[in-house]
């Protein structure tokens, strides 16, 4: 007998995130490193537990190994529960057929049994690719108050960017009158955050209808929400005013990391009332050597800094050797920056070694764009990785020939 849960969260973590290039070659996007010692998925998971939601289904599909290992039994988020807790939900083989998740709606549809087990009143649908701190409980309360069938979290975006999002037209009571996915001519600046609260019965009803419709792309934004609107169901928007960032591109991922810097950072992880939890190893404290200079940066466990670090985010176990310079960059875990090398305006994936006197990227003011170096690579001594390059194993081979 499983106890009833008022709210169950379903976290869509199966996306590939192809715009993150090399970073998501071997890991799903939600498992990408963020802010030194976090992964993107730490944000929705921590939001859940901080909002009092202790039953979370995580839907995985693309390259789930790192993600499964990372979530484990959910202990770092206090989601290792006898009743509820975190459950990984990969696609599975059914009695009559076996299918991959064909879209966001289909993924939830295939796991309606999981939801039913807890007999919830509300289902919160989340995605694993945004950085934000949000109280879902507050949103569920708003949903209850308005008597909505579905409540969609919205975030005001500049009109110039509105065509990248699902845009909603609202009436005076925040009721949704129109929803357009990525409109060419946006009528409003209220963008969907991909966070939905559904009344459970309506969710089941519309998912089943959507599943039966063969022309549907099985997507919440494209199919389910428009179908509900067309049927005259009550859809309300819930306005979110805090920090919210889609980290779907190298540029936005870099920007969001930079938002952690400064004396009064735009995004703070120090708020004890809204802790962001993560799984991390017990690594020794970081060491700062005699000749090191660190300015406007964040540094975490296991790092050893002998060179210069400016306006950068360093993840666990990063070594910056003497004479090396790291500027305006985001460095993932266990990267070694060898002596006298220089990294500017770059994002370096985990485990990579930057050779002695090598140059990666160009000064931010002069660069054409961010340089990305993939994980587990060795940039040869003295090599130059140009600005805006996407440096994978092939480019490393070319560089090795050239030196």
């Amino acid at each position: 007998m499983i106890k009833k849960k008022e709210t169950v969260a379903m976290l869509l973590a199966g996306g590939q995130g192809s715009r993150l290039h090399l970073l998501t070659e071997r890991t799903a996007k939600p498992a990408v490193t963020f802010g030194g010692k976090y992964r993107i998925i730490d944000f929705p998971l921590s939001n859940c537990i901080n909002s009092g939601i202790d039953t979370v289904g995580v839907l995985t599909q693309y390259q789930p190994l790192a993600l499964n290992e990372y979530i484990g039994n959910g202990q770092p988020w206090d989601l290792d529960r006898t009743y509820g807790g975190v459950t990984l939900l990969p696609p599975y083989q059914m009695n009559k057929r076996a299918d991959w998740y064909k879209g966001t709606a289909n993924a939830i549809y295939q796991n309606l049994q999981f939801i039913d087990k807890f007999d919830p009143d509300y289902v919160v649908i989340l995605s694993g690719d945004h950085i934000y701190k949000m109280d879902y409980h507050d949103m569920v309360e708003a949903h209850r108050r308005t008597g909505a069938d579905c409540t969609i979290a919205v975030f005001e975006v500049p009109l110039s960017e509105a065509s990248r999002f699902g845009i909603m037209t609202l009436d005076g009571d925040m009721r949704v009158t129109e929803f357009t996915e990525k409109p060419a001519q946006p009528k409003s600046t209220m963008a969907s955050m991909g966070v939905y609260v559904f009344s459970r019965d309506k969710l089941a009803k519309y998912l089943e209808a959507d599943e039966a419709d063969e022309t549907s792309q099985k997507d919440f934004g494209k199919n389910v929400i428009p179908a509900m609107l067309a049927a005259g169901e009550k859809l309300y928007a819930y306005k979110f005013n805090g920090y919210w960032k889609d980290v779907g591109t190298i540029q936005s991922l870099w920007e969001s990391n930079m938002d952690l810097l400064g004396e009064r950072p735009v995004l703070t992880l120090r708020d004890l009332n809204w802790r962001i939890s993560s799984r991390n190893e017990a690594m020794p404290p970081h060491y700062v050597g005699y000749e090191a200079t660190i300015n406007n940066s964040i540094v975490t466990e296991g790092c050893e800094i002998y060179g210069t670090v400016e306006n950068s985010v360093l993840s666990a176990g990063v070594i910056v050797e003497r004479g090396a310079v790291v500027r305006d960059s985001v460095i993932f875990g266990n990267v070694t920056v060898k002596s006298d090398s220089e990294i500017n305006y770059s994002l370096i994936d985990s485990g990579t070694v930057i050779g002695k006197s090598a140059t990666v990227g160009k000064e931010m003011a002069l660069a054409k764009g961010i340089t990305l170096v993939g994980g587990g690579l060795t940039v040869p001594d003295g090599a130059t990785v140009p600005d805006r390059a996407i440096c994978g194993a092939d480019m490393i081979k070319e560089l090795a020939k050239g030196v």
Partner: protein, 377 residues
């Protein structure tokens, strides 16, 4: 692993009374993010020991808080795992309460726990030492030589009659058989084998020691049990080569903490992938350095905000160093907050200390200035 571990959390607490006033020796904070027990526990866990009894006596709240279920050491187990062994005092006999002050006294107290264990070997460890020892190799030596009891030792130079860092000296013959036990105080200068207070023994040997202690009122495991019985049993040393320090005074605590700034010592304690030092994991954000901060030769934990200057210091989690403040040769424990324009030299602050703006405080390397928990300067 066919061995259980026994850790004594409270022995020698008087020696660092400043830090053990409200906690056990085991839970004394050390090295930015650790507690002393982490070294003893990690040595055991890294050798594959999964059944550990933790003997507690006084003030073990902080220790229980640190250990929790034992999950951070992979010791939250259905079978075995870590068991807290608090003082056993019944309503009918609570007259003598000496159980926590010696190994033998403590062992008599946990006789039932030992009797219930099926393992053949017992590892005994104190918590006032800092080392990363290959305990598996030590147990293998113990088994392959057919010893009854094996003591880990390290060759050290004892100067000034041993007054600097007082240790227990173990004498042995060329085969490593133990011939004598002495205190370093009063011994002539020279090399000697210092005890790491880490012992591997056959369970039968320990059971016999408990019987002897009960029968004859023995109190000293080394002098009463090992020395008196050395001719009848196989008592040997195991040589350990890497970094080791025993903390017998606040000065020891200060100098041993500063030892961590030496890269060789750090490597010997933390540099081994196969033998990590495990500790309770807290959710602190990474540390922030703002523009204008200057940091040299320091170890810094997560969750800190550094706005001033930090040199040759050990900075624990959640410490804030204000603007234009200088922190030199200091140990600032968890959540110490220093205001702007302050100057600190050779200061040890306990947890939650607040140093207000503009304060100037200085001790000396030989006499660090100690500030109590929750104090406001």
């Amino acid at each position: 692993m066919n061995a259980i571990g026994i850790i004594f959390s409270s022995i020698n607490e008087k020696s660092i009374h400043e830090l053990t006033k409200e906690r056990t020796m085991a839970s004394v904070p050390f090295g930015c993010r650790y507690r002393l027990i982490d070294f003893a526990l990690s040595n055991m866990v890294n050798a594959g020991i999964t059944h550990i009894g933790l003997i507690t006596h006084y003030n073990y709240q902080s220790l229980m808080d640190h250990i929790g279920t034992g999950k951070d050491w992979d010791l939250a187990r259905r079978h075995g795992g870590i068991k807290l062994l608090p003082p056993y005092i019944t309503a009918f006999s609570n007259a003598t309460n000496t159980i926590g002050s010696t190994w033998l006294g403590a062992l008599v107290n946990v006789r039932d726990f030992l009797n219930g264990c099926k393992e053949e070997y017992v590892v005994l460890s104190d918590c006032d030492s800092v080392c990363n020892l290959d305990l598996d190799a030590m147990i293998q030596q113990h088994i392959s030589l057919g010893s009854d009891v094996t003591l880990a030792v390290k060759r050290v130079y004892i100067a000034d009659g041993g007054h600097h860092r007082s240790v227990t000296v173990i004498d042995s013959d060329e085969n490593g058989m133990i011939t004598g036990v002495a205190d370093s105080a009063g011994r002539p200068s020279g090399y000697a084998d210092a005890s790491l207070k880490l012992v591997v023994a056959n369970k039968k040997y320990i059971e016999n020691a408990i019987n002897l202690a009960t029968a004859y009122g023995y109190s000293d495991f080394y002098k009463d049990v090992i020395l008196r019985g050395k001719d009848a049993s196989d008592c040997r040393i195991y040589r350990y080569e890497n970094y080791f320090a025993t903390l017998r005074s606040l000065n020891d605590y200060f100098s041993c903490s500063m030892d961590l700034l030496d890269p060789e010592i750090r490597r010997s304690l933390f540099g081994l992938r196969s033998r990590p030092v495990l500790t309770k994991v807290r959710n602190s954000a990474p540390s922030s350095y703002v523009n204008g901060s200057v940091v040299r030769n320091s170890l810094i934990a997560d969750g800190c905000v550094i706005e001033g200057t930090v040199e040759n210091s050990i900075i624990f989690r959640g410490v804030k160093v204000g603007k234009n403040t200088t922190v030199k040769n200091c140990i600032l424990m968890q959540d110490t907050i220093t205001g702007d324009n302050a100057y600190l030299n050779c200061v040890i602050t306990e947890k939650n200390v607040v140093i207000r703006e503009g304060r100037v405080l200085s001790g000396h390397e030989t006499m660090p200035f100690f500030i109590e928990k929750n104090a406001i300067v």
